[in-house]
């Protein structure tokens, strides 16, 4: 297990370095940082001065390595616009995004697993078809559109929920549903297909032959086998949702990382954009790693072969 973990960690580190290079190169290629800092209507002299002052005249590779070195020592650089350390700015916005991510994942899991189990147990009945319809709609409907529908119905017409901001818990209800519904179908389908397979397995027949109740057979014997891949997918989906929350945060005016990313792109605030992309890819890599480890912890067969 230790050797396996080291391998995975090295691979994860490689992925992050690669993403950082790509992010840096792409953002620098699309925007001239000196021009961005100087702002519109600046004179050519002012731009040249900024270029020297910030070191933008140095070669790209040199500046990339400098940035990378800063990150390694915990310094994400300084925002061009806000004149404050990027780390502080991200620190202010991250909690909102993490909160939204966790709530959405919880919502997705709480809907997906019971619905998936029910669909499998009542395979080919109306419940099963209902569950499949819900998941097809979730996959087909773009989540900004679903978010807007929620706003129209619950915010504008019924006036039950606030449509913008992040002040109270009510502000998180619609964003959670909108983002969670995006992650739910994949989890539901995996639960359903895993359960259908598990319910036909020999060990389920054994459990029935022991006289166990249907509830024990479904939850203790079938679900505990079917849930293994769902846990990993859930971790990966959480990464998806951190990325996907850019749109949802903008639609609902939640002042999180996604909102910050959009604003920073608009203002060509490169250090902030680069740091956010790097941070999200870092989360993503960590979550995939976590999914592997979780799978190993839950499945006794992997646990012992990896040891």
């Amino acid at each position: 297990m230790a050797r396996y973990l080291v391998q995975r960690l090295l691979l994860a580190l490689g992925v992050i370095v690669f993403v950082s290079a790509l992010t840096f190169a792409l953002t620098e290629a699309t925007v001239d940082p000196a021009l961005a800092v100087a702002g519109e209507g600046a004179t050519e002299e002012a731009i040249q001065q900024i270029r020297r002052q910030y070191g933008f005249d140095r070669p790209l590779v040199e500046r990339y390595l400098g940035w990378l070195g800063g990150i390694a020592s915990g310094d994400l650089g300084e925002s061009y616009r806000m004149r404050r350390p990027v780390a502080d700015i991200i620190g202010e916005h991250l909690p909102v995004t993490l909160k939204l991510g966790f709530l959405s994942l919880a919502f997705a899991i709480l809907v997906a697993i019971p619905l998936g189990v029910l669909a499998a147990v009542r395979q080919n009945t109306w419940i099963d078809r209902f569950a499949l319809s819900v998941s097809v709609i979730g996959q087909a409907l773009p989540n900004f559109l679903f978010a807007l529908l929620l706003i129209i119905v619950f915010g504008v017409n019924l006036r039950w929920l606030p449509i913008s901001g992040s002040g109270t818990w009510q502000h998180f209800v619609m964003p959670t549903i909108a983002l969670g519904y995006y992650a739910m179908p994949a989890l539901m389908r995996l639960t359903r297909s895993g359960m259908i397979e598990a319910l036909e397995a020999d060990y389920v027949r054994t459990a029935l032959a022991k006289g166990l109740s249907p509830g024990t057979v479904v939850f203790r014997h079938a679900l505990q086998n079917a849930i293994l891949p769902v846990v990993s997918l859930g971790a990966v989906q959480f990464g998806f949702m951190l990325g996907g929350s850019v749109i949802i945060e903008v639609v609902f005016g939640l002042n999180g990382l996604g909102y910050l990313a959009r604003e920073s792109i608009r203002r060509a605030d490169l250090p902030v954009v680069q740091s956010i992309v790097l941070l999200i890819s870092f989360f993503y890599v960590v979550l995939i790693l976590l999914a592997d480890v979780l799978n190993g912890l839950l499945d006794p067969r992997i646990r012992s072969t990896g040891a």
Partner: protein, 329 residues
Amino acid sequence: MLDVANLSVTIAGRGGAIRPVRDLSFSVARGETFCIVGESGCGKSMTSLALMGLLPRAAARSATRLALDGTDLRSLPRRAMADIRGNRMAMIFQEPMTSLNPVHTIGSQLREVWYRHRGRNRAAGEARALWLLDRVGMSSPRERLAQYPHELSGGLRQRVMIAMALMCEPALLIADEPTTALDVTIQAQILSLLRSLQDELGLAMIFITHDLGVVSRIADRVAVMYAGRIVETAATADIFRRPAHPYTRGLLECIPVPGRIARRQPLPAIPGQVPSPAQDIAGCAFANRCDQVRDACATARPPEAGVAAGHLVQCVLYGQAGSELSCPS
């Protein structure tokens, strides 16, 4: 102890009903091993599932009598049937590799039966599990409790399955080809284990197999099944020495015995195909493959005739009970 009359299983399907088990009647006494032998697809596994009440959802069971120790199993509500399963009647299966749950320890799977039928007493359940693991011949039973199925070989897993079936001291054990998936040496060990457990615990056992070698080692009485029906029932010695039904005789001839068949001679085989369980069979199911077929075979179901004490056969050759005691050749 177990009394079965006219047990049938019908599976409704789009192309009409399938009847894998047709009008089975037999009884099993305390301490007896009753073997049901037949080719694959003859309905023997369906029979065992029907007895346990574990048929797939699409299959329906009917019988004029189905009683365990006087309890009529036909009309029992689901819950009451589940109270009997794993408790008064238990079952072991053909596939030890997949019959145990991979994510639970051996101990928890054993204790679970105890909790279900004897109450949630961990110490008592564990004591019983330890005693049984030792009894089925597993070394260091205490360590086994903490192990997972994938850490055990097929033979050991089948021993665990046997221990699990015996947790609540059932009166009847149904063993559905429990040794088919095992090596020959392990197979012999498991058979002698079952035999000794049976003597010790006074178990009644229904042992399902396609292997006549296994039958000769373990059975007290044998029922030969063909196309969903029992065609012959007799004490084990009678089946091997005086087989009456042409199908039984055919089966016995198919066993390669050194010296009986000349070298390079093909092994005898029964020609033709087993009728499909979807087919309606008016007369004898074996008629189309039988070398002694008569006109009567095609039209009416052969009556059951006694050829000796406890030796019953469904074949027109024995139309009048007791009239033909020797084998017609």
